[in-house]
């Protein structure tokens, strides 16, 4: 029980006007508990990085934030997750709409096997966000522009998205997420399948997107967390060990485990 009280002590979850919050979040895969009493605030229009060794529950936590865990059998969740102060696990919340408000980018680029245009246009189409072809064109162009992809693909919007390179595909996935005007974008190790150049581009993009969106990113690379995030949360064995300003976490961690992880002694 020492660990629990310690995490309660070192985790300083509260930020002013959090976009999203998690309170006392427990998650079970059937009988295995994967998250223990996680308390975390996500600050608005900032990048929050979730770091920690493999299997520590950071991706699981990320998927709790847009209820992607609902699609997995045998998952039970206790505790609260809120978006703008409203519980997202409330029965009255429409999960489809929720996922439109909280976009997600996955580890492996997963464009639909359609054209580049259709990939980006899919979200606005199914949510009925546009009234005319021109509006849709505009959304697609803006989204591609925001994802820093427009220049590379504007001459081949009607060619298949699967023909793009891995880095381009991942930026396309970001454009696709941006196209439904989400408030929060969750990124699950978005660069783990990319080469260093593509990674640099995506990181740059994340930094730019920060001005418009609240971003939560799971990463295995501590350098990446240090580069792109303003706040960092360190998970270990399903518990949130420490959270704080990224500078503070990396230069002056309060918890021994955090120190051990970021200096490379375990993990």
């Amino acid at each position: 029980m020492a660990a629990v009280s310690q995490s309660a002590m070192t985790a300083e979850p509260s930020v002013e006007k959090p976009k999203m919050t998690a309170r006392n979040l427990d998650l079970f895969y059937s009988d295995n508990q994967a998250l223990f009493e996680v308390n975390l605030d996500i600050a608005e229009k900032q990048v929050t990085a979730l770091i920690g060794p493999s299997g520590c529950g950071k991706s699981t936590f990320l998927r709790c934030m847009n209820r992607m865990n609902d699609t997995i059998d045998g998952v039970t969740i206790k505790g609260d997750v809120t978006l703008d102060g409203r519980d997202i696990y409330d029965k009255r919340i429409d999960v489809v709409q929720l996922r439109a408000r909280i976009g997600m980018v996955f580890q492996k680029p997963n464009p639909f096997p359609k054209t580049i245009y259709d990939n980006v246009a899919y979200g606005p189409r199914i949510h009925g966000l546009v009234n005319s072809r021109d509006e849709l064109d505009e959304i697609v162009m803006t989204s591609l522009e925001r994802a820093g992809l427009l220049k590379e693909v504007k001459d081949r919007l009607q060619s298949p998205a699967t023909g793009l390179s891995g880095g381009q595909q991942q930026r396309l996935c970001i454009a696709r997420a941006v196209a439904v005007s989400p408030e929060v974008i969750l990124m699950d190790e978005p660069c783990s399948a990319l080469d260093p150049i593509a990674t640099a581009k995506v990181e740059e993009l994340i930094d730019e997107l920060r001005s418009n969106y609240t971003i939560v990113i799971v990463t295995h690379s501590m350098q990446q967390a240090a580069r792109v995030s303003q706040r960092t949360a360190f998970f270990h064995l399903g518990k949130l060990v420490e959270v704080g300003e990224t500078d503070q976490i990396f230069t002056n961690p309060k918890d021994e485990r955090t120190k051990g992880y970021i200096t490379g002694r375990f993990g």
Partner: protein, 449 residues
């Protein structure tokens, strides 16, 4: 403490292994060389086995196709006999009315018989005459009637006309009856063979393309029997089967794969579907007999009942193939759609189903091909009946291609042997066509991701 002890044991074991690892390997030693030789021999053997298997399969295929083809190709030709037919006005239209109804009712059979009597005037005995009339098929009178109805000016004239020959005569002409065999052991006696030789000498016997085989329904007379009735019956049956089993099968597969909770009940359903796929088809026939005919009183021998029965049989195949195809769609596509806020149904209809479609269609067509070749369940529901008319709808009595093959194979007349093989060829052609369609559809819908 036991933990500690086991740990020590592990350490000790690890030490032995690492000692072995430290020993350098002599890659040039005879032992290693022997090992390599053995490996190469094994790979060569394996290759030979594979080639032998393919060779055997191909040989079997060629033997099958060859035997069917060599027996069946002659069914596409039919012997015709040329006779001088007098279109006697007193027989066809005695009152000179020109009324098609009167002309249609006339005794054309009599005209043919008198033509035959004129051709062979020395035949007088009653039995011999009956044999003589066997030269020309009973169906020839219909041809004659058509001819006169089309061209009434023929009435009163004498024309030389090619008439379709009877089946025994046809067999003789095609070489299936050997005149060298003692008279008592063959279908045609010496006198009949003599007539044949005489006609051949006159150039009055000819083989022509047998279009009737493709346009007629079944008949007791082999030379008049055709495959079209069975083909149409098969068509209606398959339409009913497809219309039922495709939507039901695909929906069941989608539900089981994408929406159903994974619990005991769905497990039982799954096991049962897999078992159903292995149930002998005759059992489905009995089920169809009881449910569709005895309880629901649907028309006997009708393609609609055949289709319903075959749909039961095809469903498991389609469900299993569709589930496999749906399962093969990468989960990342579903996540991408769900992550964008697509509802589960949108995810399935917009992404999963289009990507699974090639596999689903392949499975469906394999199931349909299976249904096309199915005989046993249809015997149970009366589609084995002798039906002459080409069915006009799925409610008319009909038979199907494989049952037609079964019926012909069972018929005593020698001429049905070639019909059987020809029907098999037609059935195989349909199967090849359907499989070709499967390949085409798979290629067409295939998308890379």
């Amino acid at each position: 403490m036991t933990d500690m002890a086991s740990l020590m044991e592990d350490r000790a074991a690890a030490k032995v292994i690492s000692d072995n690892l430290r020993k350098p390997v002599d890659w040039d030693s005879p032992k290693i060389a022997r090992n390599i030789k053995k490996r190469y021999a094994a790979e060569r053997r394996f290759k030979i086995y594979g080639l032998a298997a393919i060779f055997l399969a191909l040989t079997a295929l060629f033997v099958l196709a060859g035997s069917i083809g060599s027996k069946g190709y002659s069914a596409f030709y039919q012997t015709y006999v040329q006779l001088e037919v007098t279109f006697d006005k007193s027989v066809i239209d005695p009152d000179g009315t020109g009324d098609p109804e009167v002309i249609g009712r006339a005794n054309y059979d009599g005209l043919i018989k008198s033509a035959l009597r004129e051709r062979f005037p020395d035949v007088t005995a009653r039995r011999d005459k009956r044999n003589l009339y066997g030269i020309v098929s009973g169906g020839a009178s219909y041809d004659l009637r058509e001819r006169v109805l089309e061209n009434p000016s023929l009435i009163g004239q004498t024309r030389s006309v090619w008439l379709i020959s009877g089946d025994d005569f046809d067999m003789l002409n095609k070489g299936y009856i050997d005149p060298a065999v003692p008279e008592g052991d063959r279908r045609l006696n010496d006198q009949e063979v003599g007539w044949y030789n005489e006609l051949v000498a006159d150039g009055a016997v000819d083989k022509q393309f047998h279009a009737r085989f493709f346009t007629n329904g079944d008949s007791r007379e082999p030379e008049l029997a055709g495959i079209w009735g069975a083909a149409v019956g098969s068509f209606y049956t398959l339409i009913v089967t497809l219309a039922l089993s495709f939507p039901i099968g695909v929906l069941a597969a989608i539900y089981l794969e994408e929406f159903a909770p994974k619990n005991r009940f769905t497990q039982i359903v799954e096991v049962n579907i897999n078992n159903l796929a292995a149930v002998p088809s005759i059992v489905f026939g009995l089920l169809g007999l009881e449910v569709y005919l005895n309880v629901m009183h649907l028309p006997r021998s009708a393609p609609v009942v055949g289709g319903l029965t075959l749909a039961l049989m095809t469903l498991p195949t389609i469900i299993i193939a569709s589930r496999a195809a749906i399962k093969a769609v990468p989960p990342s596509i579903r996540q991408a759609a769900l992550g964008l806020g697509a509802s589960p149904v949108q995810t399935v209809t917009h992404h999963v189903l289009p990507l699974a479609m090639p596999g689903i269609l392949t499975g469906t067509i394999i199931g349909m091909a299976q249904a096309l070749g199915e005989t046993a369940p249809l015997l149970m529901i009366g589609m084995v009946a002798f039906i002459v008319d080409v069915p006009g709808s799925a409610l008319d009595p009909a038979t199907v291609l494989p049952v037609q093959i079964y019926l012909w194979a069972d018929s005593p007349e020698r001429a049905f042997v070639e019909k059987t093989s020809a029907a098999i060829m037609v059935l195989l052609a349909f199967l090849v066509l359907m499989n070709g369609l499967a390949v085409y559809l798979r290629k067409k819908f295939e998308r890379k991701w």
